[in-house]
């Protein structure tokens, strides 16, 4: 669908500008989830931007809170708050901290310490079942984050309690804080690990919007929670950032920002209206 592709480009553009203005880190991991966020917010989640705590909303938890520039951008673009507020990202006195903050409309849970949100998501999904208040709960984790043992407590828990209303997305961009996931602490074989833990597991190209949509739109079958292992590229969309560990840390300077925006505009001319 064209809309989610345009939305992804806008998320990327805002995230780049925010990270540049704030001289902030983590643009690489924000770019790797831009397509997933765009499909979620444009085509999958039941949202109430004017009433962000409406009990019927789907819950989305960004466990990799350091990629929040992309989440803030999509929330602004989906009218949870004014886009101009993104200019305050990381500024003194702003609510827009550089790890996701629940003080911002549309954000369920503050994150920043890794390995927290999946357990919280299990609690929310359990409450949904017990209260028979039907909505879906989505949690997005990074690959490196799966090093945290707390995640595996939750990965054991969710299928045991048949939390088929819970969907986990792994942003598998193969790079973590100090190197390649395969070198630091390999997750492989990841899909069969999840299957052995009784999850329904699918692997997709995390930048193919139709594949993202098709994997997200259905819950797990046979009372299983679902995990979507999304193969992504850190820094996706900007050629000099792709697959470069450096962009876990570096903020684009003036020249780099200009070049990055030019690359985005070339592929997806952005509606400036």
């Amino acid at each position: 669908m064209k809309n989610s592709i345009l939305l992804a480009a806008e998320i990327r553009r805002h995230a780049l500008i925010m990270n540049h203005n704030a001289n902030a880190s983590h643009i690489g991991g924000a770019l790797s989830i831009a397509d997933i966020l765009a499909v979620l917010y444009e085509r999958v989640l039941t949202l109430f931007p004017q009433e962000p705590t409406n009990p019927k909303r789907d819950r989305f938890l960004l466990s990799k809170g350091h990629a929040c520039s992309a989440l803030y951008a999509v929330l602004a673009l989906k009218d949870f708050f004014e886009v101009e507020l993104l200019d305050t990202y990381s500024k003194n006195g702003s609510k827009f901290t550089t790890h996701a903050s629940h003080n911002i409309p549309g954000i369920e849970l503050s994150t920043g310490s890794l390995g927290h949100a999946l357990s919280v998501g299990c609690g929310i999904a359990l409450a949904s079942k017990r209260k028979q208040n039907y909505f879906r709960t989505f949690v997005l984790v990074s690959d490196g984050e799966l090093d945290e043992g707390s995640n595996w407590e939750a990965i054991l828990f969710a299928p045991h309690h048949k939390l088929d209303n819970l969907t986990l997305i792994v942003d598998y961009n193969k790079i973590q804080s100090l190197g390649n996931v395969d070198d630091v602490l390999s997750l492989e074989p990841l899909k069969s690990k999840f299957e052995a833990f009784n999850w329904e597991a699918v692997e997709i190209d995390g930048h193919d919007h139709e594949a993202i949509y098709n994997s997200l739109i259905t819950s797990g079958r046979n009372a299983k929670p679902k995990v979507i292992i999304a193969h992504t590229i850190k820094g996706k969309g900007i050629d000099f950032m792709e697959n470069q560990l450096l962009w876990h840390y570096k903020s684009p300077n003036e020249k780099e920002l200009e070049s990055a925006i030019a690359q985005l505009n070339k592929v997806h001319p952005i509606d400036q209206s």
Binding site: L118, S119, V120, A127, R130, S150, A154, H161
Partner: protein, 305 residues
């Protein structure tokens, strides 16, 4: 105390369908009646306290008043960051219940000695820290906890603690200090918290000391007006607790008094003797009273004025 807690929680849960109890695969012959009566609001999450604390946060976000229950250091120290960040930072309605405060599980060794919990939990913003001294206080605190919408820590004893209070229903609010024994012509006051209160009361009675006795069911907050009243009545204060001296209850009392003194709310305050564990582990077997003695948690002559 654990029976007083669960019985009161059951009473409350009959009229409050938001109460949810999570256990970390502990609570044999304690939690079963709750599980039987309210299966839809009970879950044994397994031996996974970080997950339990996170699940509690999620349930609380959806409107439940959640109790997480386990032994000593497991629902507290083991998942400190989930408590700090998920529960307290989001100011969620989660109550952390630890059984076996202090040396209640003495012979089981230092893994089961809960002797740093108060210090760790009282530094976290939004957290209320409770430490009942007997089953009557445990019951009152449980009842208060249901009606308080925010994070709370309940540091319980284990089983078989003596009832010290005469009234079955204490009327207390958060922060209150309980006057166990107070007379006008007494120079020395002892402030005590936890099941070691029973020891202090017996000691004072046996030695026929003219001490006033106060129990502290709350370590955070502590009612400042009540504390001011106590310090203006006495020349000597003893604080007795089954916890490390560092960051414990005596420390909390001194912090408050220092600040009240500093801003001129009190003109002076008495000498304070803290009786607490002196910055060490005890790695030999022993029951609770043996370990208390070993750790010198005693009111013998060397420890008092």
């Amino acid at each position: 105390m654990r029976t007083a807690f669960i019985n009161q929680l059951i009473e409350e849960a009959k009229g409050n369908e938001n109460i949810f109890l999570l256990v970390g695969d502990l609570g044999f012959s304690v939690v079963e009646p709750f599980a039987k009566l309210f299966p839809e609001r009970y879950l044994n999450v397994g031996i996974a306290e970080q997950n339990m604390a996170g699940i509690a946060a999620g349930l609380a976000m959806e409107g439940y008043c959640v109790y997480i229950y386990s032994i000593g250091n497991f629902p507290t120290l083991r998942c400190m960051e989930q408590i700090r960040y998920d529960i307290c930072y989001h100011n969620l309605n989660v109550k952390i219940v630890a059984v076996g405060g202090g040396y209640a599980y003495g012979a089981l060794g230092p893994s089961h000695h809960a002797t740093e919990d108060i210090g760790m939990l009282r530094t976290i913003p939004n957290m209320v820290v409770c430490s009942p001294s007997d089953p009557i206080e445990a019951k009152a605190i449980t009842s208060i906890s249901v009606n308080y919408n925010g994070p709370m820590y309940l540091r319980l004893g284990k089983a078989g603690e003596k009832i010290i209070h005469r009234s079955k229903n204490l009327r207390i609010s958060i922060g209150d200090i309980i006057k166990y024994k107070e007379q006008d012509n007494s120079d020395t006051a002892i402030l005590v918290t936890g099941s070691i209160a029973d020891y202090a009361i017996n000691y004072v009675n046996e030695k026929k000391l003219r001490w006033n006795i106060y129990t502290l069911p709350f370590i955070k907050p502590i009612n400042k007006e009540q504390l001011k009243d106590i310090v203006t009545r006495h020349n000597e204060l003893i604080v007795l607790e089954e916890h490390q001296k560092s960051c414990g209850v005596g420390s909390a009392v001194i912090e408050i008094l220092n600040d009240l003194f500093n801003i001129g709310e009190i003109e002076n305050y008495p000498k304070i003797r803290r009786i607490a564990i002196d910055d060490r582990f005890y790695s030999i077997a022993g029951d609770q009273s043996f370990l208390r003695e070993l750790a010198n948690l005693s009111l013998n002559k060397d420890n008092i004025f």
